[in-house]
Amino acid sequence: MAQLINLEAIYVMWLREMKRFFRAKSRIAGSLAMPFFFLAFLGTGFMNVRFSGMPPGVNYIDFLAPGVIGMILLFASLTAGISVLWDREFGFLKEIMVTPVSRVSIVLGRILGGVSTALIQGILILLISIGMGSKIVGIFGVLSSLVFMVLISAGFVGLGIAIASRMKDIHGFSLIMNFVIMPIFLLSGALFPLEGLPTWLITLAYIDPLTYGVDGLRGCLIGISHFNLLVDFLILLCFCIVMVGIGAYLFEKTEVD
């Protein structure tokens, strides 16, 4: 067990992610820009639009804020997971893989790093949205939303690692951007309520793990959710465990050339 879970290695993998994150200031600004514009322009633009299924008494910006937090968590954590590919491209993956550290610890360190950086971005967007007038139900809501943020991030870092472990180089990256990230984001109910949608869309939304993440965040932050919060939590937890498991399994089997 001591060898399977190597705390020092997990720490140093995490430390590396943090250093790289804080050194890439322009990248942080870049990744915060899109959610910020969503909040500023979409939030303002649709201020007076009533979507069918929107709970009464809720402004669009209040509704949108948790969705945009879900969006940045999705982008940030998938990118963090897929950074395995960049390590492969720049050769650093060899250095990691040849060390005696168990693959499980390497994956845990990566997930911890990815979750931390995603969480920082999620919290920043939360603060920005509060600054822009989005209402929050209370401090307990904020704290419990952190639980959802962690689960969303960990799950998608795992998915990112799984995808990156199966890819040989970075050429497929834009494919993933367009065929994985965008559908997950758009189907999650981040931008509009799920109520009153056609059945085929609802079905797809129910398959999308981010749906439960966004719904959970909404439940915590504005006190209104489509599912029971416990249901959101349990489904996300399963998603998270399965993804981390698959990510670790596929990473274990990856070859480095």
């Binding site: 040849v98 180089d169 050339d257």
Partner: protein, 332 residues
Amino acid sequence: MADAIEINGLTKVFDGLVAVDHVSINIAEGELFGLLGPNGAGKTTLIKMLATLLMPTSGTAKVSGYDVTKDPDKVRRCIGIIFQDPSLDNRLTGKENLDFHARMYGMDRELREKRMDEVLDLVELKDKANILVENYSGGMKRRLEIARGLMHHPEVLFLDEPTLGLDPQTRRHIWEYIRNLNKKEDITIILTTHYIEEADYLCDRVAIIDYGKIVALDAPKNLKDTIGADIVSLEISDSVDKDFVAMLGKFKWIKKMKEHDGFLDLSVKNGETRIPELMNIAQKAGVVVQSVSLRKPTLEDVFLHYVGKTIREEETSVKDQVRERMRRRWHN
């Protein structure tokens, strides 16, 4: 002495291309072993299989008694490697790269600091230790990679072209350090190289590998002895004349002949006494000899003998290969 490495019929096939072809070698504990071969011979592939980074297609290999496919974790605990291709994190400083390595290998703080100092000194990067690796020059990056690989003193150390592209002075320093590690710390070392003098100077035994197969394996001295004679090298204007070659072929005292880019190398015992005779023959055949040189056999000649071209011819084609690699990278 026990064997540090036992390789048995090890083979790696990359979609149809046999990169390593039934290689069997035993390397003793404490040996400094060299792999010499032209580009694409399979040296890196062989080392990566031993380092558990690639799965063999068939055959087995044991490092420090552990099977590389069945017990990769245990193998990893015993080895260290300096890669041929870049493997640094450019967004970290030099020191942070070393620190990462040290912690992954579970070195405690005191040892970490001591070794970092030592290896940074060796590669003369102390004053650059705290700047980001992306601001290093190519040679500095290479030196940092070497420093990192030498830090944790494993049982078995793989060095894949460790000094490629370094200036002669730095190369000397690194040779001495490698030799010290091997002799004083009892570390078994397997090194691949393009520098004949590196293999000659450092290695207890050298294997020459070509198209994935071991074509010769022995101590450098014994390999040179297999050539068994001096080399008289005639530089001939234009292309080498077929008739002239046929004519020389009749003389028993010429043991071997090899043509390469305008030169005709003859293996001859007591070469200095045969030169006048050779000049006569050339004159009779109407062949203009531009220069003659005589030398004792080197590993270069051994290489030429087994691989059919000099390693220098190989090196000029390295650039083309790199270019080819880049092309492939950007166009698929």
